[in-house]
């Protein structure tokens, strides 16, 4: 009797979305919260975000663990914290929230990063649920569960989830992109309350935009392509709220760019020239002349400021006066437009790194595990390893992939335009939105920092590629690609 009740309830509540969410939850708990704990080693970026949020490196041998080992415990400042926020990021909200929970349940002196991972995981599981629900709602159960299985394969991959046990902004980027996409698709499918979904959509986009400096264009892209949302309902109230939200997003995008701290601008600006513009130039001296820079700076061609020893300090007044002041985002963009051969080479280089989810430089295990320095986990990493090994790593492939995906979704979009059904137009809008977000990541990385640290800078591209491909595959399985969108936006 009892078994029958349980199985009946399981069948009743065990929708593909629930199964996918539970699958991701269990696998991620096994990865992040059961020894050996999986996380990400510090590449030197942590101090900027954690010191301003009241944490410090407490491990005595922390310096020896850079890049090699994941560190899970940090100290909480017990006195006045003189470190002002050197980094403007929505990530701080989550860190502070995690510190509060940590202090509540664990310790006032020590911070265990797994409290942060737990918060991220809850959000993540919710986002996975919403996305799979959007793709499997009203779908035959068999197809639905195939999609759910694929979702577990993709979303529980430790290439993505290991970021939760780190202070990298990628966790926020990944979760918020997922939420933006899921809430957008739910709006398309007219599932749940539109106002609630709109709120999730806008808040996630806001957090996403302000999570990393390079995401400043995301706010602009979502604001522009999100205009379709205004027309999905006829009520003035809805339209007013949507307009206000989109304008705010636009403003936040601009604001994020303006608030980028100078130190970042300098390192990235340095690489934008030495690892970008000059890298494939056949005559770096002439290229520099084109920017009004002394040709002697050609000796910096190809140099990376992350190397231990360099000729010049990236923040020196000399570079400030005679190098950085001579170029900016606009002039570099113009250079690439007028030198398409160099642009193509840079894009191909980006594509070579654009399919790597887990940056090769950082290890995943704690030092106490006795693993090798910088060793990566293979636990539930099938998707990331497969993608890294199989994806054709040229920009041509990216272009073809975009053309194919847009081609697949175009017929229903044209249909929707003819029928003047704004809601039905949303799907292609969302696909384009994600593609542009990914592309903006590539362009901002190349123009803003050349090829330096591309594997990490291109995380957003790889994330959006996965989400769009997942949508395409799910729609193919669900036969929803060209067919009747009936329930989608009736």
């Amino acid at each position: 009797m009892f078994v029958r009740t349980v199985s009946r309830n399981l069948l009743r509540f065990g929708t593909p979305a629930v199964v996918a969410a539970l699958g991701v939850l269990i696998i991620t708990i096994l990865a992040l919260f059961v020894p050996p704990f999986i996380g990400m080693a510090d590449n030197g970026d942590y101090f900027r975000i954690i010191y301003s949020n009241g944490l410090y490196f407490s491990a005595p041998d922390y310096d020896q663990q850079y890049l090699g080992y994941f560190v899970k415990e940090y100290g909480i400042f017990q006195y006045f914290n003189e470190n002002s926020a050197s980094l403007f990021s929505s990530q701080s909200l989550f860190i502070r929230m995690a510190i509060a929970v940590n202090q509540w349940f664990y310790s006032n002196l020590w911070f265990d990063i797994r409290f942060q991972a737990a918060i991220y995981l809850l959000l993540y599981v919710g986002a996975v649920y919403l996305l799979v629900e959007a793709l499997t709602w009203k779908l035959p159960r068999k197809r639905g569960f195939i999609i759910a299985a694929l979702a577990i394969f993709l979303f529980a991959d430790t290439g993505y989830t290991a970021y939760f046990n780190s202070f990298f902004g990628e966790s926020i980027v990944w979760i918020m992109t997922l939420l933006v996409f899921a809430s957008g698709l739910l709006l398309w499918r007219k599932r749940y309350n539109d106002y609630v979904l709109l709120a999730i959509f806008v808040i996630s986009a806001l957090i996403l935009t302000t999570s990393k400096q390079q995401n400043a264009p995301v706010g602009l892209i979502v604001a522009v392509l999100g205009v379709v949302l205004v027309f999905i309902r006829k009520e003035k109230k809805f339209r007013l709220i949507t307009w206000t939200a989109l304008i705010s997003l636009f403003a936040v995008g601009v604001g994020t760019y303006v608030l980028i701290p100078k130190e970042f601008v300098n390192i990235n600006k340095y690489h934008a020239m030495t690892r970008g513009v000059l890298l494939y130039s056949e005559d770096p001296e002439a290229t520099l002349k084109g920017f009004g820079i002394d040709r002697q700076y050609a000796v910096l061609n190809g140099t990376i400021h992350y190397l231990p020893y360099t000729t010049v300090d990236v923040d020196s007044q000399l570079l400030e006066d005679n190098f950085y002041s001579k170029y900016g985002f606009g002039s570099i963009l113009t250079h690439y437009i007028t030198h398409p051969d160099q642009a193509v080479k840079m894009l191909n280089m980006a594509a070579r790194n654009g399919f790597t989810i887990r940056p090769p430089a950082m290890g995943n295990f704690e030092k106490s595990e006795g693993r090798e320095f910088g060793e990566h986990t293979t636990f539930f990493s099938g998707y990331s390893l497969m993608k890294d090994a199989l994806a054709p790593k040229t920009f041509g492939f990216v272009v073809i992939w975009m053309a194919v995906v847009i081609g697949f979704y175009m017929p229903t979009f044209v249909q929707a335009v003819k029928a003047r059904n704004a809601r039905q137009q949303l799907r292609l809008g969302l696909v384009l939105m994600l593609m542009l977000m990914g592309l903006s990541g590539v362009l901002v990385s190349i123009i803003g920092a050349g090829d330096a640290d591309l594997a990490k800078h291109l995380f957003h591209f790889t994330a959006t590629f996965d989400l769009v491909t997942f949508l395409l595959v799910a729609d193919l399985i669900g036969k929803r690609l060209w067919g009747n969108q009936d329930e989608a936006a009736a």
Partner: protein, 537 residues
């Protein structure tokens, strides 16, 4: 020629253009060069005197107070006297270790710090070597030996003079002033509005005491006068002019012009040049080398500035020695002989930097610390055969002098100037030096050695040597061509085959287009004909 130039003519004959051009002088230089057994000259000189082992123990770094930085300044100064210094706080001091040092310096920066000095003071009471005390709480036995009486004042504005230098309006809080002592005194302190004067420091044999010592005013340099006698340092010292901030992308023409102007004025100088670790075959690098070669020919000595430490987290930190050796080799290949290494103070207290970064050099120029980025911090510094103390030129200029010219300070000192960043500043700097009455030393007159696997670079008596061969100083500049293949075109295989294949494909495509065009025209005509037939019907 004015009087000052005439004076220089007498003191630095080789630096004068008239003299230098004479054949006899050149022959003389060549002969000296051949006669001197070059390798090992500096090493032999350094072996003559055993390195002084100094223990520096302090109570506090006095961060945030006026005394902040005095420990670092003291470390730099002791290094300039060729001492190997071990620095420890009272807490770090290991009981019994005092006996392995010839000299001990105790610094008490904080009078209010409740520390009894622990085992250090206990060991000190039995110590028989030389002891210098700086600051508060002079231990009883030393006080007795110096027969010291002093008075304490909460706030005073003092004037300090020592040697030919003086500085007034120095604010001292909680200062102690020596009223009675036994031994030799150093410097004079006078208080504003009072007749009485007090010694800056006193020494009786191997026991010495300085009540007040801060970084950034004359008390920093004044310590050198006492330290020289206390450490029994007997070498003659020199004042040098040193330019920093010289990069491959500095204004090289300005550098050449400055070198010419200083040469014409008979002023030898040192340039501390930034190393380049990549693209050393680029024309831009060649221009840099050409400029340095010109500088060298104009009585400019070259020292290699330590590279900028941009990241200490990289695990691949082991290549520094190879990179430095490579840069030295690049310089030497071009006929430029670097004679030493310039680095911030903390480099000599770091095992990694000492062995990997400075290992090739026996001479150093130590600058105050900027941003400290340690890799493997150690307590004890390596002693260099020659180590220059550095003072900003502007700091010296703020001091009052008794004479127009400046005599050498007790330690070899480089007066530091940043290489001017624009034309106006360049002219001002040249004028400033040309109008200076001081006689500056030529760095290559003393022995220096730099060793890599490929080169043994040395200097002695004003002559530079590369692998034992005297370097010919040639000021004739070579024009560097900008032509360079930056991107290697890679090896091409089956080039003819692919060219042929391309041509065949082009022909095929054109043929297809032509046939397609024909079909299009034929089809159109057929369609038109069918339409016309229908219309007719």
């Amino acid at each position: 020629m004015n009087r000052r130039h005439r004076l220089r003519e007498l003191t630095i004959p080789f630096a004068q253009p008239d003299w230098r051009s004479s054949i006899s002088v050149r022959l003389m230089m060549l002969l000296i060069g051949l006669m001197l057994a070059v390798p090992g000259v500096a090493a032999a000189a350094s072996d003559e005197k055993q390195t002084s082992q100094v223990l520096l123990v302090y109570d506090s770094l006095a961060l945030g107070s006026g005394k902040e930085g005095n420990i670092e300044a003291l470390k730099r100064m002791a290094a300039a006297f060729g001492a190997s210094v071990t620095v420890q706080s009272f807490d770090q001091y290991v009981s019994g270790s005092i006996s392995s040092y010839d000299y001990v310096i105790g610094v008490r920066n904080r009078e209010d710090l409740m520390t009894d000095g622990g085992s250090f003071l206990q060991d000190l009471s039995h110590y028989e070597g030389a002891y210098l005390h700086i600051g508060a709480n002079l231990p009883g036995p030393m006080r007795a030996e110096l027969r010291l009486l002093e008075e304490k004042r909460t706030q005073e504005t003092i004037s300090l003079s020592i040697g030919q230098l003086a500085e007034s309006s120095i604010k001292v809080s909680g200062g102690r002033f020596i009223t009675s002592y036994n031994g030799e005194s150093y410097g004079t302190i006078a208080m504003d509005g009072r007749q009485d004067t007090y010694p800056y420091g006193v020494r009786n044999g191997s026991t010495a005491y300085i009540p007040y010592y801060e970084k950034g005013n004359l008390s920093e340099l004044a310590l050198g006068y006492l330290l020289k006698d206390w450490l029994k340092f007997e070498k003659e010292t020199q004042l040098y002019v040193l330019f920093t901030e010289i990069y491959p992308f500095s204004d090289l023409q300005a550098l050449v012009r400055m070198a010419d102007s200083l040469y014409d004025a008979g002023i030898p100088f040192i340039v501390s040049v930034r190393p380049v670790f990549s693209n050393t075959d680029y024309p831009a690098m060649k221009r840099y080398l050409e400029a340095l070669k010109h500088v060298q020919s104009r009585n400019g000595s070259v020292v290699v500035q330590a590279p900028n430490v941009s990241a200490t987290i990289s695990q691949d930190m082991t290549t520094l020695d190879l990179q430095m050796a490579e840069f030295i080799n690049v310089l030497a290949d071009y006929g430029v002989a670097p004679l030493g290494v310039g680095a911030e103070m903390y480099w000599v207290y770091d095992q990694h930097y000492i062995t990997k970064g400075m290992g090739a050099f026996d001479s150093s120029v130590l600058f105050p610390n900027g941003e400290v980025k340690h890799m493997a911090k150690v307590d004890t510094t390596k002693a260099f055969a020659s180590s220059l103390y550095t003072v900003e030129m502007s700091q010296i200029e703020q001091l009052q002098r008794k004479e127009l010219y400046l005599e050498p300070l007790p330690m070899d000192t480089a007066l530091v100037l940043d290489f001017p960043s624009d034309e106006e500043k360049l002219e001002a700097t040249i004028d400033r030096l040309v109008e200076e009455w001081t006689s500056f030393g030529d760095y290559k007159n003393t022995g220096h050695e730099v060793k890599t696997e490929k080169y043994e670079i040395a200097s002695q008596g004003g002559i530079l040597y590369l692998n034992g061969q005297a370097v010919t100083l040639n000021a004739a500049d070579r024009l560097i061509s900008s032509d360079y293949e930056y991107i290697s075109k890679g090896e091409k295989s089956f080039e003819t085959l692919f060219t042929m294949q391309n041509k065949i494909l082009i022909v095929l495509i054109l043929l297809s287009l032509f046939i397609f065009g024909c079909f299009l025209i034929i089809g159109y005509r057929m369609y038109k004909r069918k339409y016309e037939i229908r219309r007719r019907l």
